[in-house]
């Protein structure tokens, strides 16, 4: 097992976690837990003697963690790795099953922007309400009130119900309250994903300030590697509820990106999609420049009665949102009728996605149902390039896809 980088010593520990596990009980056989009394009673009547067959699922398993005061630690990992559960346990929203957590200092947690904001209440009322929900005393909010309003830039609309706010204003106000939380430990989930770029920067700056000046510990979950890189001193990589790595951001990021590939290595005989290789200019790669071509080679291991087989590739962004989907029959009328076919290639002449990391999912179907779906089979990192020949390099600010356009004007 990997030891924490810092073992706790004397007074500078902010968070100490030992042997933390969180288990959820789930009903076996894919059955939902009975949520009405009738169902519950019925289940009991049907099997009066047998206890409900349950299965234990460990969202977190034996986590050891030490975080010092003044540290900003990023928590990364795939969806379902246990990041959110860890934050929830640390912020006492849910309880651990086993283990010990000691927190040295007040904890403020920001798992969502504007928790408890009420649309009918005015900006002023919401500042007080939200502040109280985040754990601030009324006197504390009072002294910070002007700073909060100033940070959000909503002076004019203080006495307007927030339901009349634009979504930007709403987020800014909610964030402003949170940014003025003066706890020694701050726990932040992926909340920076909302709000405009400008304001995000302002928030990040504020957070950085806080950790530098006041020596507060910040725990931070994000899928955005750029933010993690900018903000954090250390990173914790979670995988299947366990700590996979603690240490430098660089190494953690690399391990994280590699990890997305592991399903690729695990080759199961029953799987008909055996692998996916990406090639750029005939060299296997996971990087491609914007506007360049990319070839995907899908290895197949089809069953005997292969018929009407069509293959699709889905591009998903860091948030798991589907960005593009390509499919053999739709794109080129390619349908496979023979089990002896073991390789399908797909040429994508121009990758017109904004720079970033995309996960690729391969789907195998027979025109009616999906036969097999393999998530995280590969990832592709799209790198910015001057594709318009104007010296401009597109970034995530441009949206999700890149469009070519011809501009002109009269005269």
């Amino acid at each position: 097992m990997i030891k924490p980088l810092h073992t706790s010593s004397a007074n500078d520990t902010a968070i100490r976690v030992r042997g933390l596990s969180k288990a959820y009980t789930i009903q076996k056989g894919g059955l939902e837990k009975q949520s009405t009394l009738a169902e519950s009673a019925l289940a009991r009547l049907k099997n009066p003697l047998r206890r409900a067959r349950t299965e234990t699922f460990h969202a977190l398993k034996d986590i050891d963690l030490d975080i010092k005061k003044g540290e900003v630690v990023g928590i990364i990992g795939r969806n379902g790795a246990g990041k959110s559960t860890l934050l929830k346990v640390l912020s006492r929203i849910t309880y651990p099953t086993t283990g010990e957590i000691d927190l040295f200092g007040r904890v403020g947690s920001l798992l969502e922007v504007g928790t408890g904001f009420h649309p009918e209440l005015t900006g002023r009322e919401n500042i007080y309400l939200n502040g109280a929900i985040l754990g601030m005393a009324r006197s504390e909010i009072k002294t910070q009130f002007d700073a909060i309003v100033d940070f959000a830039g909503v002076e004019k609309f203080l006495d307007t119900p927030v339901k009349r706010y634009s979504s930007g204003m709403y987020v800014r106000l909610a964030f402003a309250v949170a940014a003025h939380l003066r706890t020694e430990i701050l726990i932040v989930d992926e909340v920076l994903a909302v709000g405009d770029q400008e304001f995000q920067k302002k928030c990040l700056g504020k957070m950085q300030d806080i950790s530098n000046k006041d020596g507060r510990a910040i725990l931070f979950v994000s899928h955005n590697m750029a933010i993690i890189n900018n903000l954090c001193n250390r990173a914790v990589l979670l995988n299947h509820g366990k700590v996979n790595y603690i240490g430098s951001i660089h190494e953690a990021t690399e391990k994280y990106l590699l990890e997305r590939n592991v399903t690729h290595a695990k080759h199961d005989k029953t799987q008909q999609i055996s692998d996916l290789t990406l090639l750029s200019k005939n060299i296997a790669t996971n990087n491609v420049l914007v506007g360049e071509s990319l070839q995907a080679r899908i290895g197949l291991n089809l069953g005997i009665e292969a018929k009407n087989i069509e293959i699709g590739i889905i591009f998903k962004d860091q948030f798991g949102d589907r960005i593009a989907a390509i499919q053999s029959r739709y794109n080129s009328g390619l349908v496979i009728h023979s089990s002896s076919i073991s390789l399908v290639s797909c040429d994508m002449p121009k990758i017109m996605l904004v720079p970033g990391v995309y996960d690729l999912e391969v789907v195998l179907g027979d025109g009616v149902t999906v036969i097999e779906r393999r998530d995280f089979l590969q990832y592709i990192e799209v790198v910015g390039a001057d594709i318009f020949g104007t010296g401009f390099i597109p970034s995530r600010q441009q949206g999700k896809v890149i469009m070519k356009a011809e501009w002109s004007c009269n005269l």
Binding site: S8, R18, E100, I101, D102, L103, L121
Partner: protein, 304 residues
């Protein structure tokens, strides 16, 4: 920075005996220690006190929100009990002509409604508050008991207005309740405890089983007719056989609501035995409800 500086989850000292895995380090005492919860959790009054600002904030929110976007606004606080008492006066006073021991039927109904509203509002609000605030329960920590307690606050605001109305009515009808009025807080406190106890219990249950939401209103309605709200205990004693009246008194609300009316109007049929029974049941239900709530609290965020 004063409010939550010293939150401790476990006031239990036995936790401190478990040595941390690195002995020899003279570690400072943690502000918060999180441990797997035990089946029965003590009620942490200190922590509740630390979060008193949140309690006020929740209560203020509810009071402010109640009459937003209504034409008559806060006037509803006055109109609602008057309407309720009016209906009861018509049904029990005018149509059924139940005995009122010489009191004007409207006043009898109004005093009954005053006590009943305190109970029923508290019960229905506390039982629903966990589910109504589920988003918050899943996203932020605070002692969960703050939510049901805040509901009492907002009921109290309505009651204060009703109490003024009672004073006005007493002046109009020229009734002086005398010293019994001093005991009004006792009955009210018992009613609140009873309502909170049931409310926390059903509220915790509702987190897992939403059926409670549909059953409770029916039960509350039944309880209203089974309690001396629109009529007095004297009517029960006169109209029903003795054994049924005794059965009727097993409803803890019977003595408490009659007690409230007696305190406000100076007339009522109170029985010390039943009063003690109602008062002790209220305290018992409150304590039990609070412990059940604490016991189920740890599951709220996972189940809700």
């Amino acid at each position: 920075m004063t409010s939550a500086d010293t939150i401790t989850l476990n006031t239990d000292n036995s936790q401190d005996d478990q040595q941390p895995r690195e002995p020899g380090v003279d570690a400072p005492k943690p502000t918060v220690s999180i441990r797997p919860p035990k089946r029965w959790q003590a009620i942490d009054f200190k922590e509740l006190w630390d979060f008193r600002d949140l309690l006020t904030a929740f209560a203020l929110r509810d009071v402010k929100l109640r009459y937003k976007q209504t034409l008559l606004g806060a006037a509803w606080v006055v109109i609602q009990p008057l309407m309720g008492a009016g209906i009861f006066t018509f049904v029990f006073g005018v149509m059924a002509q139940l005995p009122t021991a010489g009191l004007p039927p409207f006043l009898v109904s109004f005093a009954g409604m005053f006590a009943w509203t305190a109970f029923s509002q508290t019960l229905s609000k506390t039982s629903g508050c966990m589910v109504a605030n589920q988003n918050m329960v899943q996203k932020v920590y605070f002692p969960r008991m703050i939510l049901p307690l805040a509901q009492v606050y907002s009921v109290l605001v309505d009651l204060a207005v009703s109490l003024l109305l009672v004073a006005v009515l007493l002046a109009i009808y020229q009734i002086n309740p005398g010293w019994p009025i001093l005991l009004l807080p006792v009955w009210m406190l018992a009613l609140f405890m009873l309502a909170l106890g049931f409310g926390m219990w059903t509220g915790a249950l509702m987190v897992e089983y939403r059926d409670v939401r549909y059953v409770l209103p029916v039960v509350i309605q039944f309880a209203m007719y089974a309690s001396p709200v629109g009529y007095m205990l004297i009517a029960v004693n006169e109209k029903v056989p003795d054994w049924a009246a005794q059965l009727y008194m097993l409803n803890p609300l019977a003595s408490l609501i009659e007690g409230c009316r007696w305190s406000m109007l100076g007339v009522g049929e109170l029985h010390t035995g039943y009063l003690i029974y109602s008062l002790s049941l209220s305290v018992g239900v409150f304590i039990l409800g609070a412990y059940v709530f604490r016991g189920m609290e740890r599951k709220f965020a996972d189940v809700i």
